[in-house]
Symmetry: C2
Subunit: 263 residues, 2 copies
């Protein structure tokens, strides 16, 4: 059986390719819900429904384990999927998020932690909740950054600096020592964030995911033993345009082949 | 029976309220597909399907006539709806767009016409096609402006100027005398566009729609006679969040009451 990687769009390709490069033997299916991207501003109910439909699709494609490479989905839908959907429909399958490993690292490295995230992630309260679960005394400050995903997706990097700076100012005013880039798209803005927040420890969840997944697979032989090792990769999108293919190439530096699917 | 006004999101409220204010006696239903906004970057097939589902929903709500207050839907889906869908499913109902009236005005006022629009509208070629249908000798130059909708929807007006300026430069370099703001959201950027393009005749399709609709109703008594005059207004969204309600109030200056619906 395969490993699925899900994102609302193309931002998850960054972490997806890192996982594949780090653990190349397995069979992978990447699914991007480009027909309904972005998730960040939508209601919790919509984010849950879209994520559940996408996860079900990946299960039907033969995935045993799915990584939600999308912080919004991880924040808004993961817990409910694990508690309500998997036990009744797919008791032997697993869905993992990217938020908890990052929250644990942030809690271990920082005392005053700033989180930059989508509106949906901020409203869910998942970042403070998961950081405080590990370390209740940490100060956590959140800032919604709704324009960063459109800027990344529409090649707007040259306009990012003043917008990112305005989002960072309230966090810097709180004297943060650690900044979590709480959306898969923001990995493409890491250098700019570090320049605007000198001396702050900038954490990009994507960088932690491959190690976190490798660790999970070591601890769960009952899952790992059922994963096939065929070195196959499929990249599926719910909507396919030339612009999406061009964006994927710009973001990843690789020429990937995509297929369009209906959920 | 009612008049429906459809937009992919909240940008169509601008033109919707202008229509309602100009022709207040009728019964109106506004539908914004906020669960799947924005349409502008999606494939033609997705835009057609989403628009058809929304139109069908408005027909089920008792609408006889629907205005597509969305240039992307008008450019990508209107003709196919009128040719394939309405004749077989709703032969007595009507769907009108906002693109053709604006194209006709632009063709009558300008010789060198610039069009600022979403990627989907630009790719569809609908603006040059409709302008050339009326006046084949006009020069038409298009520019995709994918960041403007996110900027309007996320209260990013203070960052618009340099981005809008970069989008306008290629059009100005072509010596345009007329600029069409080819997306309902751009009406909120009209003043900024006029400042950046001094001496250019800036056309905002929304401003033409009420007159164009009044004219249509005068010419089609078989439609007008079947429209009820109850002064009711309903504002429906496919996804409802506090942020959407706040955005609607910021954009329109009115406190509207929204209901969430499933298509």
């Amino acid at each position: 059986m395969k490993i699925g990687i899900f994102d609302s769009g193309l931002g998850g390709l960054g972490v997806g390719l890192r996982i594949i490069d780090a653990l190349p033997d397995y069979d992978y299916v990447y699914l991007g819900d480009t027909q309904r991207v972005p998730y960040g501003n939508r209601s919790q109910e919509s984010i849950y429904r879209f994520t559940r439909e996408s996860v079900d699709f990946l299960f039907e494609q033969g995935c045993l384990l799915i990584i939600l490479a999308c912080n919004t989905a991880s924040a808004e839908a993961l817990r409910r999927l694990q508690q309500e959907h998997l036990p009744t429909h797919y008791p032997e399958r697993r869905v993992l998020g990217v938020l908890i490993p990052a929250a644990e690292v942030a809690a271990s490295q920082g005392k005053r932690i700033g989180v930059l995230a989508t509106l949906g992630s901020v409203d869910s309260g998942a970042w403070p909740r998961e950081i405080h679960r590990v370390a209740p005394d940490r100060k956590v400050y959140q800032q919604a950054a709704p324009l960063l995903v459109p800027l990344v997706e529409n090649d707007g990097f040259r306009w990012v600096a003043p917008i990112l700076d305005e989002y960072l100012q309230p966090l810097l005013a709180h004297g943060i020592d650690t900044l979590v880039l709480g959306c898969t798209h923001y990995i493409f803005l890491k250098e700019q964030a570090q320049q605007l927040a000198p001396g702050v420890n900038v954490i990009s969840p994507e960088e932690l995911v491959p190690d976190s997944l490798a660790d999970y697979l070591r601890r769960h032989p009952e899952i790992t033993s059922r994963l096939s090792r065929g070195h196959t990769r499929e990249f599926l999108l719910t909507d396919l345009t030339e612009e999406y293919v061009g964006l994927a190439q710009r973001l990843t530096g690789r020429a990937l082949t995509f297929s369009r699917v209906e959920l």
